[in-house]
């Protein structure tokens, strides 16, 4: 009798199922607008030129060994990664109250942060502290916090489907009514899946309520540089919160902006009141890391550290990031222009107003189904598309298909 005999099939993750269906589709015109990874205009993944360069440097360097990294990760990676988020001249860094933990991608950083908070935040082992994630959000946010032991993971209002923009009043309202000390997961920029970020003024309002109501700030920063093409611009919200004196976590991913999807390069930046608090937090983080993956993987972190700490390579990387961001921006502009030229019913300004890899088109589930079944264009049931899936070769087909869908399916 198998002990695993009654294990049920887990619900497949929607985006993976979509990719599989796309793979199996024989239609030569098919387009995959589902997966969250960058593609070139040829529809191919892109190894950043600076990454190729640094990989060669690493392989040729005989002084580098393959020993275990320290439990908290490569020191030069951790500090340079935090600088990227907080800014070279961040007061928090200057005041020596920033710490970091190298993690397995953004997920790993969220996981470590969640595990720490469940143990040590708001009274020890307080699993009842509410964790708020945006409605909608990247679906893994729910799993990471739930698996860390939090019993109460709830949505906060974010996306207004009617006006296709931020539901600021709803967001602020949820902040006002959340129990004190609740944890809020905020998208630093390029909100996934809506592509809709608060403006600076709106962020200031959010910060004011969070400070007053003593809510915990947990930023998820997976797209820094990718949104506007400028690292500093994309970090505005994180840095603003620091100037407002918040203690916070910021989960950073270098998967997208370095194209290092498969090396799992992430960093959990910790901003605390002072160095002593940082020290104590890091000591507990070490214990948590030790029983999860023991030591993080070395290659990706090394690559990022060398890049960030070498002036010309850093400049080249920023340029590569801008290349990716610019292509996304041009696809946005192009798609909107074509839809307008076709006279597609509805307003399409949100395509260029939204930012980052994703766009919430506003297509409803029936329209999405039509796109997939009749046009072999794969997008999420929510209407989310990955702009990187668009190329100069397929954009006409996609625009015409959206037009046809909107006209024929309601």
């Amino acid at each position: 009798m198998s002990l695993f005999g009654e294990v049920p099939q887990a619900i497949p993750v929607a985006v993976f199922k979509l990719s599989n269906d796309f793979k199996d589709d024989p239609n030569p015109m098919k387009v995959n607008l589902g997966v969250g990874a960058y593609r070139t205009d040829e529809g191919q993944p892109w190894v950043l030129p600076v990454v190729k360069k640094v990989e060669k440097i690493i392989v040729a360097d005989n002084s580098l060994n393959h020993e275990y990294l320290p439990i908290l990760g490569l020191p030069e990676f951790r500090s340079s990664a935090s600088k990227i988020a907080l800014g070279e001249d961040s007061p928090a860094i200057q005041e020596n109250r920033v710490g970091a933990v190298q993690c397995l991608g953004g997920t790993g950083a969220l996981k470590m942060g969640a595990e720490f908070l469940r143990r040590w935040y708001n009274g020890n082992d307080n699993m009842k502290t509410p964790v708020y994630v945006s409605a909608p959000t990247w679906e893994n946010h729910n799993s990471v916090f739930a698996n860390a032991g939090f019993e109460d993971v709830r949505p906060y209002k974010y996306w207004d489907a009617e006006k296709r923009g931020l539901d600021l009043a709803g967001f602020l309202g949820d902040l006002e009514t959340a129990p004190k000390h609740s944890i809020f997961v905020l998208h630093a920029c390029a909100h996934n899946p809506t592509g809709t970020d608060p403006t600076h003024v709106e962020w200031m309002q959010v910060a004011e309520v969070m400070k007053r109501r003593k809510l915990f700030v947990f930023f998820d920063s997976a797209y820094q540089g990718f949104a506007s093409g400028c690292l500093d611009k994309d970090a505005w919200a994180v840095r603003y919160f620091v100037t407002q004196g918040f203690e916070m976590f910021c989960a950073q991913s270098f998967s997208k902006n370095f194209g290092l999807y498969n090396e799992r390069v992430g960093n959990l930046t910790i901003v605390a009141r002072d160095a002593d608090n940082v020290r104590r937090v890091l000591s507990q983080m070490e214990k948590i890391v030790r029983v999860t993956w023991s030591n993080p993987p070395s290659q990706g972190a090394r690559l990022v550290a060398i890049t960030l700490n070498t002036a010309e390579l850093f400049a080249e990387w920023k340029d590569n990031v801008k290349t990716m961001a610019d292509r996304v921006l041009s696809m946005r502009a192009s798609l909107q222009a074509k839809l307008q030229a076709l006279g597609t019913p509805g307003t399409w300004g949100h395509i260029t107003q939204q930012i980052g890899m994703f766009s919430f088109t506003g297509l409803n589930p029936k329209q999405v189904e039509y796109m997939i079944k009749e046009r072999s264009i794969y997008l999420m049931a929510s209407g989310r598309i990955n702009m990187c899936g668009l190329t100069t070769k397929n954009i006409d087909y996609v625009a015409k298909s959206i037009h046809e869908t909107v006209v024929n399916v309601q």
């Binding site: 887990a10 993750v13 060994n65 893994n140 194209g259 498969n262 214990k287």
Partner: protein, 434 residues
């Protein structure tokens, strides 16, 4: 350790913040300092030690004769090739890792013609090192062992065992972690009878964590005869074996022999988990190349268990890092590379055996009390000397030789330059400290 939250300004950094008129409270004020990781502290003490003859024998890595970790030229060459391969694309790997890697890792443990593989009831998941494999296995057990009720243990660990193991199960939510007697200080070997006694008392459906070979930290393993007795007991008592195989090939220089207990259980139709690491056998520690093997009774459950494993991985680290796994897969898939790699592992084992023999001989010549046969009976990276806590402390404080507090040491850290000193010191410890 509670620290008062000083809201009137304070030291250094807080004053700067206060000066800008911003009031903040500290959320982390109640977070105590964690007790330092004993290994970290030991290494830090060693680094501060200025004694010229100091020797660190408590590390987790295999060191060569020069006292360094190293990768073979073959591995170096393959890493170069991978770096310049234009066909490799930087995509997200699947949550369960590279298929070529999991396939080869599975075959290495079970043997290519294992019934379980042929019958398609084996799941392989690439993990972040052996720790990641144990953690994932623990999460799977916690969530899915006995669907009808919430299972929280017990899990049985050997006494002694790797000091992070208990914490891994606890972190996965399994609080009921117990020990079975394993190492007998008097006999300087495995106390099989006591082990069996302890396990006879264990409740049905207990999970038993077992070292397949080269037990960490003692280096002492069960004989094949004793493995057969143990598996009979496990079948009778309906225990679930969770094997640890962090250094396959490095115990006997023979991959089949080192995995023998796992193959035995598989051949008996048992379900099992096996956590593997390729850190030692490839010298790829930093890359974190691990694997969790799951042998099921029925192929019909495979897809469901895989889907649940993927779900757990998604909430832990999402997907593993591919670099190291790619190297391992390349070697294991190419017959010529595979042979060259195995030869390399064999020579590491030969060196280890040589060190053990020379150490034993040296101790004998010094007239060191007690029997030192266990040195050559044990295998793999570790060796349990049988020294007690006071003797270990003597070695550290008076001779600047660093062992684990339990008297275990890393054999590979002994070489021709420090062997005599180590032997003399052990002799001194045994004859002057009791």
């Amino acid at each position: 350790m509670r620290q008062t939250c000083n809201s009137d300004g304070g030291v250094g950094s807080t004053e700067n913040v206060k000066a800008r008129g911003i009031t903040i409270f500290s959320i982390f004020v109640d977070t105590p300092t964690a007790a330092p990781n004993p290994e970290t502290k030991l290494l830090a003490d060693f680094k501060k030690d200025t004694h010229l003859s100091k020797v660190y024998l408590a590390g987790r890595e295999y060191l060569n004769e020069e006292g360094q970790t190293s990768v073979s030229p073959l591995i170096g060459k393959i890493m170069q090739q991978i770096c310049t391969d234009p066909t490799l694309c930087p995509e997200y790997p699947s949550s369960v890792g590279l298929p070529e890697f999991t396939r080869r890792a599975t075959e290495l443990v079970l043997g290519r013609d294992c019934h379980a593989i042929v019958e398609n009831r084996v799941l392989g998941v690439q993990t972040v090192g052996c720790t990641g494999a144990v953690r994932l296995g623990a999460e799977l057990l916690k969530h899915w062992y006995n669907v009808r009720g919430v299972w929280c243990g017990p899990v049985y660990l050997s006494s002694p065992c790797d000091d992070s193991l208990a914490g891994i199960f606890e972190a996965a939510g399994i609080q009921d972690v117990r020990r079975y007697r394993y190492w007998d200080t008097e006999q300087r070997g495995v106390c099989v009878q006591k082990m069996m006694e302890d396990l006879e008392m264990a409740p049905e459906q207990s999970v038993i964590v077992l070292s397949a070979s080269a037990h960490c930290p003692t280096g002492s393993d069960l004989s094949q005869k004793h493995w057969r007795l143990l598996t009979q007991l496990m079948v009778r008592c309906r225990f679930f074996p969770f094997f640890l195989l962090p250094a396959q090939g490095l115990c006997h220089g023979d991959f089949e022999q080192d995995a023998w207990p796992v193959r035995l259980c598989a051949s008996l139709g048992m379900e099992l988990l096996c956590a593997q690491s390729f850190s030692h056998s490839f010298g790829l520690y930093g890359e974190r190349v691990g694997h969790l093997l799951c042998v099921l009774k029925q192929s019909s459950t495979l897809l469901a268990v895989q889907s649940q494993a993927e779900k757990q991985v998604r909430a832990l680290w999402s997907r593993p890092s591919v670099g190291g796994a790619r190297v391992v897969a390349t070697v294991l898939s190419n017959p010529a590379h595979h042979v060259e790699w195995q030869e390399g592992v064999k020579s590491m084992v030969e060196r280890g055996i040589l060190v053990r023999e020379r150490l034993r001989e040296k101790l004998r010549l010094l007239g060191c009390p007690g029997s030192w046969d266990h040195l050559i009976q044990q295998g793999g990276l570790y060796c349990c000397t049988g020294l007690n806590v006071q003797q270990v402390e003597f070695l550290e404080k008076r001779r600047h030789i660093y062992l684990h507090p339990n008297g275990c040491l890393n054999v590979s850290a002994i070489n021709s330059r420090n062997l005599d000193y180590v032997a003399e010191s052990i002799h001194l410890a045994l004859t002057s400290v009791f």
